[in-house]
């Protein structure tokens, strides 16, 4: 599937561009939105949380690299699993991944709103985020918190853009990513040289009451910050020498992302302190920046505004990426006959997977009503579960198709996929236990989504017993070209 209208005939994305796509999808909202929340759970150990998550993700990244090199399909995780597993498991994989992306959309929109209000606040256009009350919506007589309204509007905007125009190409993504990374590097540079940094306080590393176990739920919550390198596998057609560059790009983007995260989180904790960071919540990084960035600059006035702008920009580009990613999953599932066939059709006028985008938008808009932390938890949970399946796919493929050509073969098979499965499962279980105690709503909604999917799948099979995509008559496109 290619939504691009003006796709260049030549493969044009090099290793750098492909890595930038992965980094762009990862470094976005996660770091800006979730650092504060991670600090709330784990204290200064939030730093360790990001490092460990990077390590856990690395095992799954190896699996993605092998699958992407062997199966030249630009559909990401669902496409691989669909290739290897039976109908029901592959349906559930798609169903989970679709949900993960949609909830991530809600999360990014929720992360965008407070940062945007903070940006207005820096220029004195609005009061501080936590002092803003509700805004009455004229005409309806309904009072909505402005953050919620903003988040809702942001989702609507990007859904509309993507519904009527095809996706931006990789080179635009490179500019976006470079912008985001530059802003973060500015943050790190100023933070590390500020007087606040030299008096940094990382002790006690772990929160007194929970100790080292506080790491695990915080890892679960922030796991989503490392989601996104799989988007590299959705642009394979445009990458030069893909069988070498795709695995490399996955590793490069993951390694670079870990480095950036470690630097940013260290600076944030050192300057604002874990408690201050926790208090700032979704706008943690932005608020840390306003503490030490120089003020009185021409035009932008306050240097902190650059960082706040970075947060707004990152959450929006990440939102855009997941609007595209979620609709692609729904579209692929529709084409495979695993969702309403309508989802698998491109619009005759716009050339976009119109129905898939609108379908995804409904859930995304609904998820905006969730607390940010619930959205983060649910999205992380579903990514963890789908990554378990991806690692399982590698093992299944080795057993069933030993003679398949694997241009990139992961080292020390079967250790990495097994570790990937175990570690992702551990985090998923810890997250579920954590949710039982703190956030039953998120757990209930997650279970509900899985239940609806399973029941929907069963009843579809009952209603249409013989309707399987394999039974469709072959299309009769007759090419006269040879």
């Amino acid at each position: 599937m290619s939504g691009q209208r003006n796709r260049s005939p030549e493969a044009e994305l090099g290793l750098l561009d492909a890595s930038m796509i992965g980094m762009g999808a990862m470094i976005g909202a996660g770091i800006f939105v979730l650092t504060g929340l991670a600090a709330e759970l784990a204290g200064p150990a939030a730093l360790l949380v990001f490092v460990l998550n990077g390590v856990v993700t690395a095992f799954t990244a190896l699996s993605y690299a092998e699958l992407a090199s062997a199966i030249p399909k630009s559909g990401g995780g669902y496409a691989f699993v669909r290739e290897i597993f039976d109908d029901f498991p592959s349906f559930m994989m798609g169903w989970m991944l679709w949900f993960a992306y949609m909830i991530a959309g809600g999360l990014y929109a929720l992360g965008f709103a407070p940062n945007f209000i903070e940006l207005l606040h820096v220029y004195g256009l609005s009061p501080a985020p936590d002092t803003v009350g509700t805004v009455a919506v004229p005409g309806i007589g309904l009072a909505v918190p402005p953050g919620l309204g903003l988040a809702f509007f942001a989702v609507l905007l990007f859904v509309a853009i993507n519904a009527v125009s095809t996706a931006a190409s990789g080179s635009v993504e490179t500019i976006f990513t470079a912008t985001k990374v530059t802003i973060l590097l500015v943050f790190v540079a100023f933070g590390a040289t500020s007087p606040m940094f030299s008096s940094a306080e990382f002790q006690p590393l772990f929160p007194a009451e929970t100790g080292v176990y506080a790491l695990l739920p915080a890892m679960g919550l922030t796991f989503i910050a490392f989601e996104g390198y799989d988007l590299i596998t959705t642009v394979t057609e445009e990458v030069k020498n893909p069988r070498e560059n795709i695995p490399k790009a996955i590793f490069v983007s993951l390694a670079a992302t870990i480095v950036v995260y470690v630097a940013v989180v260290s600076v944030a904790i050192a300057t604002l302190g874990a408690d201050g960071l926790a208090a700032a919540g979704e706008a943690g990084i932005a608020q840390a920046a306003t503490e030490f960035m120089p003020t009185g600059l021409p035009i932008i006035k306050n240097g902190g505004a650059i960082i706040v702008f970075g947060a707004v920009f990152s959450t929006l580009t990440a939102l855009n990426a997941v609007v595209i990613a979620s609709s692609r999953v729904a579209f692929s599932m529709g084409r495979e006959g695993q969702l309403l066939p309508r989802f698998g059709k491109i619009h005759h006028r716009y050339g976009t997977p119109f129905a898939a985008i609108l379908g995804s938008a409904l859930v995304m808009l609904g998820s905006v009503a969730l607390p940010t932390q619930s959205a983060g938890n649910m999205s992380s949970l579903f990514f963890l579960l789908s990554f378990v399946v991806v690692n399982g796919a590698v093992i299944k493929l080795h057993r069933e198709r030993p003679d398949m050509d694997r241009p990139y073969e992961l080292p020390y098979y079967p250790l990495p996929p097994i570790l990937g499965i175990v570690l992702n499962l551990v985090l998923a279980v810890v997250l579920i236990v954590f949710l039982v105690r703190t956030d039953p709503l998120a757990l209930l909604l997650s279970a509900g989504w899985l239940g609806v999917g399973a029941i929907g799948y069963m009843s579809r099979d009952r209603l249409l017993p013989s309707r399987r995509p394999e039974d469709e008559p072959s299309p009769d496109a007759v090419s006269e070209d040879d």
Binding site: R5, I346, S474, V478, D482
Partner: protein
């Protein structure tokens, strides 16, 4: 409701490889079976198909290529015997699969008792060669393939373009609907499900055009 095929091609040499490229352009999922290591690497570099290294007549290799879910198996190696054996083994493993075998002589119609279709690629190649030799200004449709594919495409029931007028459908740039068989197409031409249309398409957007016509 997929408009795309799952195809297994035996042989990643010149014919099998080029065929895979055309199918991948249309969005079909291709798996190539090829015994030779160097050829496997060359195909893998192009990133168009999953490759299974092995002998296509071996049922185990066909299983690994996903014969149980395949729509079509095409034996496109240079040897008729291998191609026919592949097709027969494939039919044995999955009776519903459509089989296509490349043969070495032009009059291979008798083989259609064993397989669903036969191809003799040399005939198409010879046509191109003859056209080049003659250097004529008028060439048959088959030769302009480098930049434009000219295809007959049937509109499927329920496809995005079905029942729409040509002016209503926004095709990707690089597409020209030439004719419905009854004359040169006008903007008012209605795209009717079940009818065939002659369409010129640049290779990059073939998959998108096929999606519009097929859903």
């Amino acid at each position: 409701m997929t408009g795309n095929l799952r195809v297994i091609i035996a042989g990643g040499g010149r014919v099998g490889f080029q065929t895979a490229i055309h199918l991948a352009d249309r969005g079909d999922a291709v798996t190539i079976i090829e015994p030779d290591g160097e050829t496997v690497d060359r195909v893998a570099d192009e990133w168009i198909a999953t490759v299974i290294q092995g002998d296509a007549t071996n049922p185990d290799i066909l299983e690994q290529a996903g014969i149980d879910r395949a729509d079509v198996v095409a034996g496109l190696t240079g040897k008729s015997g291998v191609n026919l054996a592949t097709c027969l083994a494939a039919t044995e493993l999955n009776p519903a699969v459509r089989t296509v075998a490349r043969i070495e002589e032009s009059d291979g119609d008798a083989y259609t008792e064993l397989v669903d279709a036969v191809v003799f690629p040399e005939s198409a190649g010879a046509k191109v060669a003859a056209n080049e030799i003659a250097g004529s200004d008028i060439e048959t449709v088959a030769d302009i393939t480098a930049d434009v594919d000219v295809m007959h495409i049937r509109v499927a029931e329920g496809a995005p373009a079905a029942g729409k007028q040509l002016s209503e459908v926004r095709f990707p740039s690089g597409t020209l609907v030439i004719s419905d068989g009854g004359g040169v197409a006008t903007p008012e031409l209605a795209l009717t499900a079940g009818e065939q249309y002659l369409v010129a398409v640049e290779p990059d957007v073939v998959d998108e055009v096929v999606q519009l016509f097929h859903g």
